[in-house]
Every structure is written in structure tokens, then in C-alpha cells.
Amino acid sequence: MNDENTNSQGDDMSTSTPSVLSSVAQNRAAHHEANSAPMGSGLEARGVHAWFGKHHALENVSLDFNPGTVTALIGPSGCGKSTFIRTLNRMHEFIPSAAMAGEVLLDGKDIYSSGIDVTQIRLKIGMVFQKPNPFPSMTIGQNVLAGLKLAQLKHDNKEELLEQSLTRAGLWNEVKDRLGVSAGGLSGGQQQRLCIARSLAVNPKVLLMDEPCSALDPGSTLRIEDTISELSKTMTIVIVTHNMQQAARVSDYTAFFLSDGGPGQMIEVGPTSEMFSRPRDQRTENYVSGRFG
């Protein structure tokens, strides 16, 4: 069905050289420059640490996410990148015994300061998870609009919002005739795009994506990457990925995380094309050239 996509995904990681990835990234950068003025909110992590009980999982990460950019977080398993992305919309605190230090600023305001309504934060900073998680008891349409119900928001034109969200997520044409059908019948890739549409319906300024394609086939992965490129015109996106080609294809900036057995640290951050062509740190170069991880 999507043979050409399959090939691009099927590349052996070890054969991809930094130069190949960096040329992909440069294409991506050129694409982005052609866009109109970026929107979305800026997000800033300052000295973020995270713990699970006594385990220090993440150490002193400071990272800026400019409005309207896509930032990829890469690194081997266990380097703390998923933990980090979950501190950005306060999902980290749902794990029992989880703790954090530092600040996360959304448009300059600390989302962890007291007196902040965390549900408002999560409305502005949406999240898409590794495994598609639509609500199985709801129809496709209800799933998209679930956020309105959950956050008790009012919207004048739900039909329009429904179509708009599904269109932005690149799913409208596939499901427009069966909005009243249970979401469980969709394929994995469609479910993930449904989850993206669901996040978009509450109009977030920032979208966090925690390995959104790791459970999907290559064809679906490519569709989601197209969706990300479209969305980056209107919002700030942070994506965790294990797939370096994906990072090169979709992101403007890349941050490399690594754990040397201790807590995970951010080794290096920079424009994606530079990270893949001339990383400053030897460890980054080893990773992006496929020498470990």
C-alpha cells in the first residue's frame, strides 16, 4: 500500500550517516522557513530534575522551545527523555513517588507554581502518547470532542470543531462518513491520528508527543509526520523519538539525552541539521552515526 514509505523507514540505522540525516534536516529547515509567522506558545525548562522515589532519573535539564518550532528529543532508552517530556505538562506527578525540581515556564509563567490550576495547564499543553489510547466506549466523533466534555468547555459550533480537528490531524477524509462508529474499529495509525485530533480540539498552544509512532507501521508513521509538519505552522511541538530519521525529517531542533548509568542528562541541543552533520559533543556524534544506542 505504502511501499515507498516502507523503504524510507526500513533503512538500517547503522548505515545512515550523519550527512544523509543532515541533508534531510536541511530540507526540513528550508520547508519551515517558507512558512508564515509561527504561532503557539513558548515553553522553557529551567534546571529540571526528576526523581522516582530515590532514583534520580533526570538531572538539570534546561531547554527552550520557541513558539512554532518542532523539537525532537532523542537518545537511547532510559536516558530520561520521556520523563522530561512528562514534566512539561505535569503528567510526571501521576506516578506515585515521582518528584521534580526546577521550573517549567509557559509564556514566562511557571506551571509548577502554587495557585496554578493544573487542568488549565494541560489544556494549553496537549499530549499524544506512545500507544494510541482512544476512549473505546465512545464513537469517533465523541472521542474528538471528549476534551470539551472532560474540561467542561463550551464551544459554539461543535460540528465545525470536529471537522477542523480531524482535518488538521489528517484523518477527516477517512472517517467523515462514520463519525458515529466506535473508535475501536480504526487501525492503529488512524487511532493515533484520532488521538491527535482529540488533543487539537481543545486548542492547545503546545503539543507534546511521546514516541507517537513507535507502535505504528511505516505508512502510518509517514502520515503522522506529515501531520506534524502541518501542525508546526500553528503550534509548538516537542516530540520524543527513537527514530533518528524521524527526528531529522520533522524537527527544527534536536536535543540529545544520555545517561551514563546515573541520572539522564541533556548532552547537546541545536538546530537539527547541525546536530546531525557537525555535533559538538563526541557522544552525540557516536549516537547519531549509529555507533551505539
Binding site: N89, T119, R122, G126, M127, L150, A151
Partner: protein
């Protein structure tokens, strides 16, 4: 596979029977556990057969009146012959009323408690409360009955008066004269407390299985905890809650001692929950058993059979609901 089409298909070989030769120790253990698991079925069947055998005579002599008539008495007519009239309709209706009150009051309490324990309570508090609820289940029912009689009754009488005052227009809350003590309502309240442990632990079990990814999905969309519970946990747990409620109902149907110590048992049909008399099948058997003649004892055993069947049906219903829930996977 498509390129290598075989023109003529061969008949598949006969399926092999896959067996293993169990070791001696395994065979012994297998025998022991099978026997033990059969024992509960055997005991239950023996009780059923015994009740049917002893009660058969009553069913034959009383006919359908045994279920439809409220009277339970023996009279001596002019010729000196003893006439027995056995009917359990008053007690059946009492059983129903008391159980309904117990479920209506007890199930929401239990579900809310289970929600608190699953989604709100910090870990230390959770352990403590789970222990408390377990202790409640192990508590002797006579103590609930005595407490119900001495402590709960006077308070519940006041509540009953309030309900009657404001909702007396509703037929079930009507009373003929202001006698509110020892009503099915009060017995139901005592029972509602007694079914809390089972319903709470079944609901808690179901809620704790709520898939984490759905909970996270809800929170990531800006849900409050309450909104998450309403949209994710309750739909997920709904059938489990129904199953738990049915198990509670099963317990309420058969409860004897607590009802016996609270209720004023009168053999007259009473549809009014707040009105001060009634009874249930189990408490009737207990109250009559001590002084029963041979014939009356048989009638009580027949009543026992009716109760047995009722409880069995409710429990089977509960089981099928719970099983269906697990199978559908939600």
C-alpha cells in the same frame, strides 16, 4: 503461497490426541483438589435436595397459596382438627423491600468509598481503610443487629418521619398510622451497612483495573479528577459495580439475625417501607423454628427452599454479569 497453488488438495491428516503421562504425585494432588472443588457443589445440591424433599408436602397441600397468601397460622376447627395455613407472600415482599433499601443505600456508599480508595486516598490511608472494610465483613451480624436496634433505630425513626413528612405522597413512603419503629426501612439500613464490604471490595477491584492509558488520556485533555472518573472509570467499571451490587443483594436476601433483631415480624403484607412491621423469609424461619410442630417445620423448610432458589438466581445473575464484563474486555 499464492504462487504455489496446489491444484488438488490432499485431505488433512487425522488430528492427533495430545496426552501426557502425569507423575504419581501430580495425580494424587489432582485427585485431592478435584474432590475438594466438587465438595461445595455436592453440599449445595444436598441442601437443595433436602429442602425440596422435606418441603414437598407443604407445596402439595398449600399449592400456589404458599407463595401468594400472607397468613402463617394453624387453627383448630370445630371438630378438633388442626388446619394449617402457610403463606409466605408477606415475608417475600418484606425480603424484597429490605433488600432494595439495603442496595439503594449501600451501593452508592460503597461505590463512592471505592472511588475514594482507588483515586484519592494516599497509600497509607488506603491500606488502613481496606483493613477497616475487611474487618466490617468479618464482623458478626448479631452485633450489627444489636447496634441497629439500640443505636440506629431511634435515629432512623427520625429520618423515616422526615421522609414521610415530605415524600409521603409517594405510595411506598405512606404509613397508615405513625408507627415508624422496626420498619423494613430500618432493617434495610442495617443491611446496607452489612453489604458495604463486599460491594466496596468488588468495586475497588474493578476501578483499580481501569487502564492507565485511558486515565492519562483524560488528564492530558485537561480533565479534573472527577471528570476523569465520570468519563473513564465509571463507564469502565459499570458492569462490575452491577455485579457487586447483585452480590450485595444476595447477602441482603439471606440475612437473618440482624433483621430478626431489628424487625417487628408480622404476617401481613406491607408495601410501605417506613411502616413499622414486616419481616423477611430468613427471619421468619428463625422466629418460628423453635416452637414449630412437625408439619410447620416442613413448611419452614419449604420456605427455605424458596429463599435458596432466590439467592441462587441472584448470585448466578451477578456471576454472569461479572464474567461478561471480563470477557468483553471493555
Amino acid at each position: 503461497m499464492s504462487s504455489a497453488q496446489v491444484t488438488e488438495r490432499q485431505a488433512p491428516p487425522a488430528k492427533r490426541e495430545i496426552t501426557t503421562l502425569p507423575r504419581f504425585s501430580d495425580r494424587v494432588f489432582r485427585g485431592v483438589v478435584s474432590l475438594m472443588s466438587m465438595s461445595s457443589l455436592v453440599i449445595l445440591s444436598l441442601i437443595g435436595i433436602f429442602l425440596a424433599y422435606r418441603g414437598f408436602e407443604t407445596f402439595r397441600s398449600q399449592g400456589i397459596h404458599f407463595l401468594t397468601s400472607p397468613d402463617w397460622l394453624s387453627e383448630t376447627d370445630a371438630s378438633g382438627k388442626v388446619i394449617y395455613k402457610f403463606g409466605m407472600s408477606a415475608m417475600l415482599i418484606g425480603t424484597l423491600l429490605i433488600s432494595i433499601v439495603a442496595v439503594i443505600v449501600g451501593v452508592p456508599l460503597s461505590v463512592l468509598a471505592a472511588l475514594f480508595l482507588t483515586f484519592y486516598a494516599p497509600n497509607s490511608l488506603k491500606k488502613f481503610f481496606v483493613t477497616i472494610v475487611d474487618v466490617m465483613a468479618a464482623f458478626p451480624s448479631i452485633l450489627y443487629g444489636l447496634w441497629g436496634f439500640f443505636v440506629l433505630s431511634p435515629m432512623a425513626e427520625y429520618w423515616a418521619k422526615l421522609i414521610n413528612k415530605y415524600f409521603g405522597w409517594f405510595p411506598a413512603f405512606h404509613v397508615d398510622d405513625p408507627s415508624f419503629n422496626s420498619s423494613p426501612f430500618i432493617a434495610g439500613l442495617v443491611l446496607s451497612i452489612m453489604i458495604i464490604p463486599i460491594v466496596t471490595s468488588v468495586s475497588r477491584e474493578i476501578f483499580s483495573q481501569t487502564p492507565l492509558d485511558r486515565i492519562q488520556a483524560a488528564y492530558a485533555l485537561g480533565a479534573t479528577r472527577w471528570a476523569m472518573i465520570r468519563t473513564v472509570a465509571l463507564p469502565f467499571g459499570a458492569s462490575g459495580i452491577v455485579g457487586g451490587a447483585m452480590l450485595g443483594l444476595g447477602r441482603a436476601l439471606g440475612e437473618t439475625v440482624a433483621v430478626y433483631s431489628v424487625l417487628n415480624i408480622v404476617y401481613k403484607i406491607n408495601w410501605h417501607v417506613l411502616y413499622g412491621f414486616g419481616g423477611n423469609v430468613a427471619s421468619m424461619i428463625v422466629s418460628k423454628w423453635g416452637e414449630a410442630s412437625f408439619t410447620e417445620a416442613k413448611a419452614l423448610l419449604a420456605a427455605g427452599l424458596v429463599l435458596f432458589i432466590m439467592t441462587l438466581l441472584v448470585n448466578m445473575g451477578a456471576n454472569s454479569i461479572v464474567t461478561r464484563t471480563i470477557k468483553s474486555g471493555r
